[in-house]
Each structure stands twice: as structure tokens, then as C-alpha cells.
């Protein structure tokens, strides 16, 4: 076991990890339940978190690599999550909700990186978030609605 220190949702944390643990496993051991394990092969996007402000797949980030870095999960972005969650609900973009935390983390990364994203850019950015129940059209509408909301706030 090795000791890893990093910043999690704004707090300094220390976690114990095996050499071959992924960030996902460490986060779950710290009680972070929004991070889900779907495919564990870097394809589904369920385990998306922000590492130093960028969306990454926590199932493929070696836990020891996180030492000294800043990790943010949906638990650390509750205000944004509520507003984005409302957009998802209004557009019928969620059924079982299992993929929602990973999807929301990627949308929040998109909002920072390209707040004026076109539909085509939204589709390309969200291609790594798989959903098997609500469908992607409603998700696209929800993302568009959220980005418009953010843009309106900025202009106001």
C-alpha cells in the first residue's frame, strides 16, 4: 500500500492505494458515490471526474499519478449540478440516472472549454458518454439549454 495526497473537492485528502489501483477505486474508497464504474475499459464515460480542471476517465488514471493534483467530482460542484440536472429533467434526458454524474461532469467541462458550442461540437464532445435509455437527442437539447442559461447569466 502507498499513501497518496491530493486535493479532492477543495479539501486536502490522504488515501491509501495499491500500486495498480485506479483513481476510481480510491474515490469510491473515500465515499465518493457519484463516480460510477461502467465498462472499466475507458469507453463509457461513467467515471468522468475533473483532474486539474479537465475531464478524465478515473477508471484509467493510475491512483499514484494523482498525488499533488486537484480532483473534483460531482459532489464538489453541487450548485452547477442542480442547474444542469434541472435542464436534463426538463428535456427528459434522464431515465435510470446511472450515466448522469459522468455526463454532467463532461458537460461542465464543455461549458468551461467551449461555452458557445454548436450542436455538432456538443455531439463531438459528448461522444464518450454512453447512455442506454434516454437517447442522445434529449441530452443534446439539455446541454444546449444549459449553455444558453450560462450565456444569459454572463451577458446579464
Amino acid at each position: 500500500m502507498m499513501e497518496i495526497r491530493f486535493k479532492l473537492n477543495g479539501r486536502d485528502v490522504t488515501a491509501m492505494a495499491e500500486a495498480d489501483d485506479s483513481l476510481y477505486q480510491v474515490l469510491r474508497s473515500l465515499g465518493i458515490s457519484s463516480v460510477k464504474c461502467g465498462c472499466e475499459t475507458t469507453n463509457c464515460g461513467l467515471c468522468t471526474v475533473h483532474m486539474d480542471g479537465k475531464a478524465v476517465l478515473s477508471c484509467s488514471v493510475p491512483a499514484p499519478r494523482c498525488a499533488g493534483h486537484e480532483i473534483v467530482t460531482l459532489e464538489g460542484l453541487q450548485d452547477e449540478a442542480k442547474r444542469l440536472g434541472a435542464c436534463l429533467a426538463d428535456e427528459g434526458a434522464e431515465q435510470c440516472g446511472f450515466c448522469a454524474p459522468g455526463l454532467m461532469m463532461n458537460v461542465l467541462a464543455l461549458a468551461k472549454e467551449n461555452p458557445g458550442a454548436s450542436d455538432e461540437e456538443i455531439d463531438a464532445y459528448m461522444a464518450g458518454n454512453l447512455c442506454r435509455c434516454s437517447g442522445y437527442m434529449s441530452q443534446r437539447r439539455a446541454v444546449r439549454r444549459y449553455l444558453a442559461m450560462i450565456a444569459q447569466e454572463v451577458s446579464a
Binding site: S22, T48, A55, V56, V61, P62, P64, A124, G128
Partner: protein
Amino acid sequence: MAVYKNYVLAQSLDEAYALNQKKSSVIVAGNMWLRMCGLRKQTAIDLSALGLDRIEENEDAFVIGAMTSLRDMETHEGLNACFGGVFADALKPIVGTQFRRGATIGGSVYSRFGFSDVSALLLALDAKVVLYQRGEVSLAAYQKEAWDRDILTHVVIPKGRRAAVQSVRLSATDIPVLVCAASVGPDGARIVLGARPARAMVVADGISPEADASVCEAIAQAASFGTNRRASEAYRRRVAPVLMMRALMACSETQKDGEEECK
């Protein structure tokens, strides 16, 4: 599942190279897909603290650190301006943005994955790899070699060629069934086929950029293809000339559009 006993965040290339001489060691790059690989090693060596995640431009080339993510290449303004946006176009179909932020150019090139879109494009652009011990080696030669214990530190992409990539996939973000990268430079056009399903290789070099369907057909007939669960040899051979033609045409268009941007 990848299983390691020790994890070493290397503090220098010397240290990483020394550790990597043991067969029980492995270099960890993007760490993608390792859950499926059944890898069991004593020591994992991480190069992420060595500053190998930068894209630098000089007069003649772009020098890209081995730990640079595919996403950084996809969104790098200088790289895309110089090569007509081909990196953005060619890398976008690879899984998703989060995946491409993790996957590294060094991991793709060292592993010589047959399905690699990246390797096909880099071969078309006449890229070279820089190895810690051996120095600079052409990617075309490196692609043919067996895996060894040297460390790939950089990929060098010379300026002066325009490239385009075409691929066939069973679904939008899937691994390609066939990739064709074409480039045009002062010495004519070069065509690379990847996901044959074997490693990408140059199948034509120095041909006319205006090569017609019969030339592409002849190149496809002479190239080597295989069958896997994604497609048959015959299917790949049939599709290849179409991708070649499309890639050459796309090259000509970007050549006309941006001749001044890379000087």
C-alpha cells in the same frame, strides 16, 4: 486487468531507463484499455513528471513529447494550422474527449497498435521517433521493429507535407475497420493503410497526387490485408481504393487552402 506490485513516478529518464531494463517492468503511458490486457508486472514506471507532455515548434518540425495527450494534439492551434486541421479531423473519431485526454501519442506509437489512426497519420507525415538510447529513428522503420526496452521520448513531425485521413468504422467512435492516410509533399504523394488489421504501413510513396482510381486499385491489389471479426480481407481490399481516392482529393483541397500557413 493490469497488476503491478510497485509504482514509480520517475524523476529522470536515466532512472526510468534503468528500471525499464528488467522484463518485469513496464512504462505506463495513458493507461487506456489496460483493464482488458491481463498484464502482470513487478514495476510500473510513470513518465508523467518528466515534462514530456509538451508540443514544441521549431523552424522545421513539431517536437511532441511522448506523454502528450491526443486531445492536446487535436486542439493544438499551431499543429492544425500547419497541417490543414488534419489532427483535429483524424483524432476526433477516437472514442470520446475524455479518452483522448488520457491516451498519449507515446503509448499509441510505442505499442504499434494495428488499429491506430495516429500511427497511420504520422507515417503519412514522415514522422520520426526519438528514443532515449538510440536517438532519432524513422517511424516507418520503428513500426516494423519488435518492442524493445528503450524509451520513446518524443515524436518529431517535419513540416512540409499536407495530409488527410479517411476511415471506415462500424460505429462512429469505434476502432476503425480500415484507415487510409495520404499526404502530399514536394516529392509527390504518399499513402498509408492502417487497421489492415495489422500495423499501419506505407503502401505507396512518390506517386502523383492526381493518381486516379486505376492507380489506387492497383495499390490496393498489391497491399496486404487480413481478416478479423470486424471485416474480411476482401472487404478491406475493396474499400481501400475508395479511401485512397478520397484522402488524396482531401489533401489537394487542404494544399490549396493553406499553402502559406506552414512556412
